[in-house]
């Protein structure tokens, strides 16, 4: 996104996009098509309720609970539903990272993403750079995130071209023995679940 699109908070200096979006909302509201209170509620939900913490919780559970882990790979939609994750999770598939295989998810055609589970995608996921390069040079993309993998690890890229949604289940890192589920969840970042970073028990990402 270019800088001039940003809202710098100057209430008197409405950007072209603010004006354009407000006009459209006015029209749709006056014509009775949308309820502004419903729009507020959608924004509130994505800002505070649906987010990567839902996925992190499930992965931490899969690391400590073998039965849940099996359920996750057998039917991720049902596994997430069993945790009471808000938002329907139809056609969700969990991808298992192993020492031999690392998974990455992309949508080259638009921005398909497991939003019902992980919230809205970050700007980089929707960027031309990520959408164009991930299918041809995934190791180069991983380097943009500071992620290096062994040269013989298979890199498996999933282009989300249908309504199937993919979530990467990273390997539990060494040095986390005895950690509680809650503590484990803190090291599972959104980017780990897309496949561009690895859980880092010594860091915050």
């Amino acid at each position: 996104m270019s800088d001039h699109e940003h809202d710098h908070g100057h209430g008197s200096e409405l950007s072209e996009m603010q004006l354009r979006v407000r006009a459209l909302e006015t029209i749709l509201t006056e014509k009775g098509y949308v309820d502004p209170a419903a729009l507020d509620a959608i924004i509130e939900t994505y800002e505070h309720k649906i987010g990567p913490h839902n996925g992190a919780r499930a992965i931490a559970k899969a690391w400590v609970d073998p039965a849940f882990r099996r359920k996750l790979f057998d039917n991720a939609s049902e596994a997430f539903a069993s945790l009471g994750t808000p938002g329907g999770t139809a056609h969700l598939i969990a991808l298992e990272n192993t020492p031999q295989r690392h998974n990455m998810v992309v949508c080259t055609l638009c921005s398909c993403y497991p939003s019902a589970t992980l919230g809205l995608p970050p700007v980089w996921y929707k960027s031309a750079a990520y959408r164009s390069r991930t299918v041809a040079d995934p190791r180069g993309v991983l380097r943009d995130f500071g992620t290096e993998l062994p040269a013989d690890t298979e890199i498996r890229v999933w282009d989300s071209t249908a309504e199937v949604r993919y979530i990467v289940i990273p390997m539990r890192p060494a040095g986390t023995d005895g950690w509680s589920e809650d503590r484990l969840a803190t090291i599972v970042s959104r980017d780990c679940m897309i496949g561009t970073r690895l859980p880092d028990p010594g860091g915050t990402r």
């Binding site: 996104m1 309820d35 921005s111 041809a136």
Partner: protein, 219 residues
């Protein structure tokens, strides 16, 4: 259509730039843009495949020059006009000049869980699947002028069926004027990196797309 949205394998867009502590929205209007798209989608005036097509037909220079949510607004403006819900005179005036058209549903805050839940795209099969796991398939070399989910970088290439997902709503027809669901078998087809990118490709790379049966042929 062979649009600029079909980005797989293109060069020149530079490095990926992750943003630390990224906010959900970078401006207040982005949240309104997302919410209006969701609320209008809920009315049933169009479907998700039409919504994708609305962005694909943005002129390539405008597509590349616009931020993500700006594209959503350009697409939404096109859809409300194309569906006869808003006049271009109203867009120019910035307010309604006529009463609204009747719509099937209107989103209210109490229906939010339904509105944000993902429905199923699985439909009953009308015929047995033509392919099974392990089959080699070639992606058809076709260039539809309308909406398609068959990326250019796999057309003409041979892959292997890795998963069978059942019969799903077929976007190419769902986004067409008929808006019919025309369910088709959906598969995950995996390719070796070298099949798509030549001998210089990373030998450890495998890529998959999800592809409906009409995209596939026997090699």
């Amino acid at each position: 259509m062979n649009g600029v949205h079909d980005m797989g394998g293109m060069d020149g867009f530079g490095t990926v730039k992750p943003e630390e502590n990224e906010p959900v929205f970078h401006a207040e209007w982005e949240g309104r843009a997302l919410a209006m798209n969701r609320a209008m989608g809920f009315t049933g005036a169009w479907n998700g495949d039409i919504s994708r097509y609305a962005k694909e037909i943005i002129r390539p220079d405008e597509y590349l020059g616009s931020s993500y949510y700006k594209r959503w607004i350009i697409g939404l403006e096109w859809m409300v006009v194309d569906n006869g819900l808003v006049g271009t005179d109203e867009l120019a005036a910035g307010h309604a000049l006529r009463p609204g058209e009747p719509l099937k549903r209107k989103l209210t805050p109490d229906q939010l869980d339904t509105a944000l839940s993902r429905g199923s795209y699985d439909r009953p099969a009308r015929a047995p699947a033509a392919f099974k796991i392990g089959d080699r398939v070639r992606m058809r070399n076709v260039h539809p002028k309308g909406h398609t989910r068959l990326p250019r970088y796999v057309r003409g290439h041979v892959g292997v069926i890795e998963r069978v997902h059942g019969c799903h709503v077929f976007p190419d027809v769902h986004a067409s004027p008929s808006r019919e669901e025309d369910p088709q078998w959906l598969y995950t087809v995996a390719f070796e990196g070298r099949e798509l990118w030549g001998d210089a490709a990373d030998p450890t790379l495998r890529i998959s797309v999800d592809a409906w049966e009409p995209y596939l042929e026997r090699p």
